[in-house]
Symmetry: D5
Subunit: 147 residues, 10 copies
């Protein structure tokens, strides 16, 4: 059994029991973004979180142990994603990537936005012309230093 | 002369004159995100916007005309970006891509977040533990329909 | 069991029972294009549609549940398709892609033809010099907006 | 001078003189789809057509000669297109490719839709919910034969 | 069971029973080239041909049905083949590809040699300096037409 | 100046003077297949052949010298060709590659068809249903030997 | 069972019984280089050689038959090898490839060193500064001929 | 001017003056293999060697200086070589790579054959059945050590 | 069973028994860096080390034998790693690779740092601004020699 | 002029004047590792540092300005490096990447070693068996946090 098997168990049980990620996250007591990423094999749970996840998804003990091991990250099967929803994010980087770079450097100087010390929030934004997906990302700026 | 040459002219003049994208955007009267993307060859300006950009960056007439032609988009030289700042966004898609997919489908059903009917805002978020980059994206949800 | 397994079950039963996609679509009450795409794992059925598909293809309950979950889309095993029929469509994009771009921008300005708010119809076009395949695609135009 | 240089000359003159592909096509007396593809370096003009194109775009004699030579086709710089408009067509093949295959084989048997004995028509389709792009493709069916 | 499994069954039985493709083709009553391609999963048999193949290779009923379904074509595992015999054909295209293009266009104008309305014949050519492989290919010329 | 520049000079002069490869080959006294491949930068001419080519295409002395140097071979810009005519040959390898392998090994045992001790002939084959391209290839069989 | 399974059986038995390739080759009566390549699935054994290999590695009858079938060659999982020992050979081609080309053409004219009519010998070369690996390759020169 | 420009100068002068690598190497006083690799931009000359090379090929002072700078190595334009002569070496690694690995490890244990502390010798081997290319490589064995 | 299966057994047992690599290494009596690499399938153990590893991880006899066979090295599934921790090392090579090259050549001349005669040490470096990872690598310099 | 042009100017002047990176770094007053990376186009200089670099390498004013603009990072032309010195570092990641991952997670938990808040030191390590390259890297550990 590896972490990928655990992800498949979680997804299968979620469908069978008709669970929602938002409710799972509330039971765990953390954001739906982080908990979903963890259930999909991208984050590491501590013992108590793993036990909760194990209860919700009726996982065997070996799977609960695996949830506490840092996984090999990367959730996509190809370097350019084929799924239309995920591709749109890749397209945004292709179109706006150099814009991100210019504006962050203009404001902060040389460095990056951390993808580790990072959190995000995804919400429905009601709109008469059609509801919108609103995503707010917040990552610590990390400057390159001279030495 | 092609659009890429125009981008290089703009960038060279920006460095020489010490301009800031934020100020350019104010003169044009639009957001700094969209104006920067346009100056970097990803968006199409109308005649009046192009004239303003032409004045700011001292562009020849042919370049001003090119700013009004829809460009072949895609601002990165490789399918996996090598620049650390831009890579972090690619990494976020790799790690969180399936999470985006699950949460948007849970909230909206089958469909995508538009990367066309889309806007974003990038801000400095002061923080005693180190300032943060805050990015808010808003894209219309487009549902797949049966037919 | 995952969505790919469901697709294989559907295809195997279709061959064994000698079914036709056109007849399946009529039973479901939707177009043959959308129903076939759904049966091949690219679209999401609602509960009633999934039940009908389940009856036709004698699927187990778990498979019927999976038909109602948004799939990870992308039906081809390689980025350049090897199958001659499918390659011809890829070739059309390679040869006519910039023509699509020029003509759509000339008519509509900067933006795209939606691949989500999209439908298509595929018909046999009788012709004495050899019958033809006729495909009509219709996608909403989505303009890039300034902001 | 090569065919690519001719394409760049044509595009530059088109922008400078504010020409439209539709009007160019009318002068040539053929469809806007075929004429645009030819001007973008994908089709071969005969002597009279090339002379007309040469007049419209003020091309030198060497360029007019090149328009009559069969070009090395393929108009895109990468195997997966980065431009959002062109990518949507690639996405359609990724999502609907196996559907095209199933439905054409169901109707016609083993074979392909020709991308050579092929024509297409691209129109604006007015729609109160937003105008649509309508594309009709027609290609001869070519059967695999036993031998 | 899928078409690839059928190919593996055929190849295993061929080795076990010491069959030859040439003899299989004679029993089927078609060329050895087409029959071998079909047995290797690239062509579609009709009911009577499939029954014959099923008898020769002792295939189960499900396999015989699969032989009559149009397969997803493409028989090589990598885009540049690693097997030395097959690579030599790829090398010929690499070295002579532009020559094919020039000579066919010189003789026929713009268009292609069909790979669908196509047949070939492979023979041993006795030669005192070492026997030679002789391959004769014949494909219909398909012209690009203006429209 | 490199061999690629020489190829471009030859092609430009051929267009300007309206030459035909078949006539060039007759003047050189060799097959049109080999001479065209040489003119396109894939073969090495001897001093006398190079002088003839130099006369026909009005090449400078340095170019005539380069025609006598063994070139770095490979005439295609991408590993999967984008040009429809050349792609059809690649498709034939994809579909028939394993058939070539089976039939050649059945007739000759383990080994390859040489792509070096190789010649070919390309002819128009008149046919009331549409003329055909006929290509005859002949390559020495080279057996793997044990040692 | 396929040839790859046979290779795995051979390797597993070799480890279990502590065999050496050099001794296997002596029993077969051929060079250790060719026999090892054959055991690793790259060469074709005749009936008597296959029987010997079958005895040594305790292979079932089906495996012995497979050893006599020409395999699909290519023993590496990626186009740039990751294993350090094998990579060093790839590096030699990267660094010395054009040198091989220049020196062979200087000595022999246009053509190649055969990789089919080829043999090699790998030996330990004692050296006080550290023993060396000595590899001698011998391949027939095959000239390109005009025709 | 960069090292690649120097290589092009050397090659152009070699063709113009009809020089041979073997003679150049004799003048330099080293093997033809190493000197050719150096002239092709893969090795670093010392001051005296560079002066000699500069005299032979009539290089400007800046080029002579560049010959003494360690180059960025790698002489091939693609990861799988397209040139038939060079490809044969790549094919040998593909077919014999795992054999090299097995035999070297059998003789020496875990480690590699150095591609740095390495030399080789390339000779014509007369043979009544056709002369052969003989290449002898010698590289120090470097063992992995535990620590 | 192959080496990869052994790695999976080791990792599963490590999780189940809550072992630490540092403690495993102490029992084996070597550095934690080398022992971990070996347990992950990259190094070769001798008989006594393998027996110790077998005891710790409760491996079957066949697995203990496999630990003593030189593995096919390369521990990552893609050529550009997707895991954020491992990617950072790849990024360092991308950003600092040419710097490594310049500084090592400035100090040592043409040659490389051995990745075989190599050892490393990974430590926690306490720091009030956040603890740091400290890695010390030491590899023998291997000079290119003339011959 | 772009940053790459500035790098080429710096490298050309360094060769012409026989400068050493170590001395350049001393004049700038920072480490040789960071200064070299900056001169090779990977880091951003402040005004005073850029002026010093400009003096040393006799750069024009426009180049000095470019040194103060954050560059698009990534110094290698291919995703797998071809240069033997740089490849050895890539090989270390391939062989030891999962070891880095295991040991850092064992010591620190889930997170990464920063490649931004990072410094390194490269030294010659005298050794009677051959001098060694010693590289010490130090990067801040950045933990993934739950939210």
């Amino acid at each position: 059994m590896n972490r990928n098997d655990v992800t498949e168990m979680i997804v299968a049980t979620k469908i069978r029991k008709g669970l929602k990620w938002g409710d799972v996250a509330k039971t765990v007591g953390l954001s739906k973004e982080w908990v979903t990423a963890g259930c999909l094999g991208q984050m590491t749970f501590d013992a108590s979180q793993a036990a909760t996840i194990g209860d919700i998804f009726e996982l065997p003990q070996e799977a609960v142990a695996l949830l506490q091991v840092v996984p090999y990250k990367g959730s996509l099967p190809t370097s350019v994603p084929t799924d239309p929803l995920i591709y749109r994010f890749y397209e945004l980087i292709n179109v706006y990537g150099t814009t991100f770079k210019e504006l962050i450097h203009e404001e902060f100087g040389d460095g990056i936005m951390s993808a580790i010390d990072f959190k995000m929030d995804l919400q429905r934004e009601p709109n008469p012309a059609g509801d919108r997906v609103s995503i707010t990302m917040s990552g610590k700026f990390l400057p390159y230093k001279t030495y």
